[in-house]
Amino acid sequence: MTDMLGALARSIAASPAHDGATYLLGNVPGLPPIVQSVHLLAVAALMGSIVLLDLKVLGLALPGQSLPDLTRRLIPWTWWALPALVLSGLPFVLARPHRYLANPVFGIKLALLVPALVLTFTMQRWLPREDSKHAALPWFAALSLVLWLGIVMAGRWIAYADYLFEGE
């Protein structure tokens, strides 16, 4: 696995995309914090949508709103946030591929994304139905909550895991 990731990192590092990202992030004044802020605002959109929905399903928040209606209004924000997160994250991975691909915390973050996306997609299909009283729903919501919050926290820890690994 590490060999594959190492090979991937090397091929990214040899690509024009890497050169472009490195140039932009290094030469456009303020670009790194601006792009990171976009990433954070997209995270805020996730918080205000899927996280709020999970809390609603668990009966913890927004008692005055109907679940199907709330889902319909909020879920689009989740799906729009995702490409924004990818696009704002990509420049950094392209500019320093080894830093990310060799970092287990980044791997954990991406690994958590898979079940999180599957859950969100499933909930999106079940929640808008007026009669959705599926017994599994609160469990899905609880798991979704833990996963998404875990992903956000893992994102911040990437920088700290760096210090545990010598030489990059």
Binding site: P32, P33, I34, Q36, S37, L40, L41, V43, A44, A45, L46, M47, G48, S49, V51, L52, L55, A61, L62, P63, G64, Q65, R73, L74, L149, V152, M153, G155, R156, W157, Y160
Partner: protein, 162 residues
């Protein structure tokens, strides 16, 4: 910078050193991000409703009553964790231009929140109906959005200025 001795002394408190030299720092920082992004995300719903860009069929007062307690909870999480982070390098943070702007924006956000509460109380029925405009409410909504986004951007910039 006034109180320099005080800020520097803060950094030597046992609590400050405990946080600064352990995994507590990354833990507090990630919880800080969770809290701050939740504040902005939840306020977004309210602000869009104030600007009558979304959710007009829902009573504003009900929406606020449902959401604001959670926003407050997230804000308290962000504030407490923020304090924990601050004390580890207090003297550096107070000199950091981005941090100063962030604190200023937080104060503005607080003032805006108070004004918002007054406006929504005074014009409750008009705002709930979603039919009529209230310039004060719209301005409060727009300001809130701009200021809170500013807090996030300034917060990110703190780490980029030494």
């Amino acid at each position: 910078m006034p109180f320099t001795d005080f800020w520097m002394a803060m950094e030597t408190w046992p609590l400050s050193m405990r946080i600064g030299e352990s995994a507590w720092f990354p833990l507090l920082e990630s919880l800080h991000v969770v809290g701050a992004t939740f504040v902005v995300g939840s306020i977004l719903m309210i602000d869009l409703r104030l600007l009558r860009l979304a959710g007009r069929e829902h009573a504003l007062s009900r929406m606020m009553r449902d959401v604001v307690p959670w926003t407050w909870g997230a804000f308290i999480l962000a504030a407490v964790t923020g304090l924990g982070l601050f004390i580890t390098r207090a003297s550096a943070y107070v000199e950091n231009r981005a941090f100063q702007i962030k604190v200023l924006l937080l104060l503005l956000a607080g003032v805006n929140m108070l004004l918002l509460h007054r406006v929504t109380l005074r014009e409750r029925e008009r705002l709930d109906s979603g039919e009529s405009r209230s310039t004060a409410a719209q301005m409060a909504g727009a300001c809130s959005l701009v200021v809170w986004i500013g807090v996030i951007v300034a917060g990110r910039w703190v780490g980029h200025l030494s």
